[in-house]
Symmetry: C2
Subunit: 214 residues, 2 copies
DNA sequence: ACCTGAACACCGTTCAAGT
DNA sequence: ACCTGAACACCGTTCAAGT
């Protein structure tokens, strides 16, 4: 990695440094992460973006990890509860889509949240809603858990991949010269674009729900 | 994070430092990662575990990232090609199980591989085999791609979660006092143990294959 | 109660110099 | 061709001291 210059723009209200608070720190941390990803967040840079020495932050957060955790909590807090009216299928689909919307709106914050161990307390409310929906769909208790974990696994894995593609960290289109060697890839996945990601995600959720019903 | 003492055991044949090579470096890097995860791998520690200064490594790898990439490549190279005889379903299942076996045998190396952008070149051979199997199952080209990505997403997401649980980074059993608030979780997922992970993974793969067939 | 200065124990990487 | 020494520009975190 090149030791490139790192010019940091002061975050939010920035300057004064008076009235440091968990919330002001979290906002500044998120804006740092938005710009450069998790590795862009250092205690020293965070401090300076708030007009304060790095060490001042330790009065409000135990350590760097705690800030990243708070960021994950923030992300989950942005999920609004599902509309009551709709059927169980469109409710599950709606939650999945909303989750992905969050990822698309805040890709770097989402990357942080998804690459850390998932605290159960964070996901429990959502888990309850989804399990309830699957019960309405007529699935047995064991089946519900099964399908829930298939969904959650898929969503996490797929969105990590999608964010990597959108950030240019890996390619969606496969190298043309390699396709010759792999006929099935060539036949099935010849060319894909960003717009296919919508279908791929929605379709994955549907595949799992269909499969869950036998 | 506490600045704890880091005693490093010399890796493999360690001592001499003569005959440094990409392979010797990769082995040492993997053993460092096995012991302490990705963050346990620093160029300086890696050098000292090989009886060499950190800077010597740059004669064989471009930088730290390149070492982590080589580790991901190594992991995929450990996947043996699927048995020819079996049906398409058990072939896909077999590949998934073998992949998980790799994760269980080398959890930290796997964690490294799974948290980095997936290079297409690395996954293409496997992708071809899986798409071929799904074609044998009678799925249309579009459907094949759909189900392939559902599988890959699920496998990545689920195994990241499972590794976090097995490493004690997050809890499998849900906090008993929270269950009261979430009746559906309580009813469906009251208690789970490590042995349920086998079922959960295999079942997830099956759900996706079933769903892929309508 | 909250912030600073100085220090400790680290990082990845470059580059000129040695062999 | 391969390795070392010294340096540069960073890290997270602790702790005594200031206000």
């Amino acid at each position: 990695m090149v030791a490139k210059k790192r010019t940091v723009v002061s975050a939010g209200g920035g300057r004064p440094g008076r009235g440091l608070s968990r919330d002001r720190i979290l906002q500044a941390a998120m804006s740092l992460v938005d710009q450069e990803g998790e590795q862009g967040l250092s205690m020293r840079r965070l401090g300076s973006s708030l007009g304060v020495e790095a060490m001042a932050i330790y009065n409000h957060f135990e350590n760097r990890e705690a800030i990243l955790d708070a960021m994950a909590d923030w992300l989950f807090s942005q999920m609004s509860p599902p509309g009551a009216g709709a059927g169980w299928r469109s409710m599950v689909r709606g939650l999945a889509m909303e989750f992905r919307g969050l990822a698309l709106r805040h890709p770097n914050r989402f990357g942080v949240a998804m690459s850390r161990p998932s605290k159960p307390a964070r996901a429990l409310p959502l888990m309850d809603v989804v399990l309830g929906a699957l019960a309405q769909g007529g699935m047995s208790p064991a089946r519900r858990v099964q399908v829930y974990h298939a969904l959650v696994g898929f969503i996490r894995g797929f969105l990590l991949w999608e964010m990597d593609i959108r950030a240019g960290r890996c390619a969606l289109e496969l190298p043309r010269e390699m396709l010759a060697e792999f006929p099935h890839v060539k036949a099935a996945a010849a060319r894909m674009g960003l717009s296919d990601l919508d279908r791929l995600f929605a379709g994955g959720v549907d595949v799992i729900l269909e499969g869950g019903l036998r």
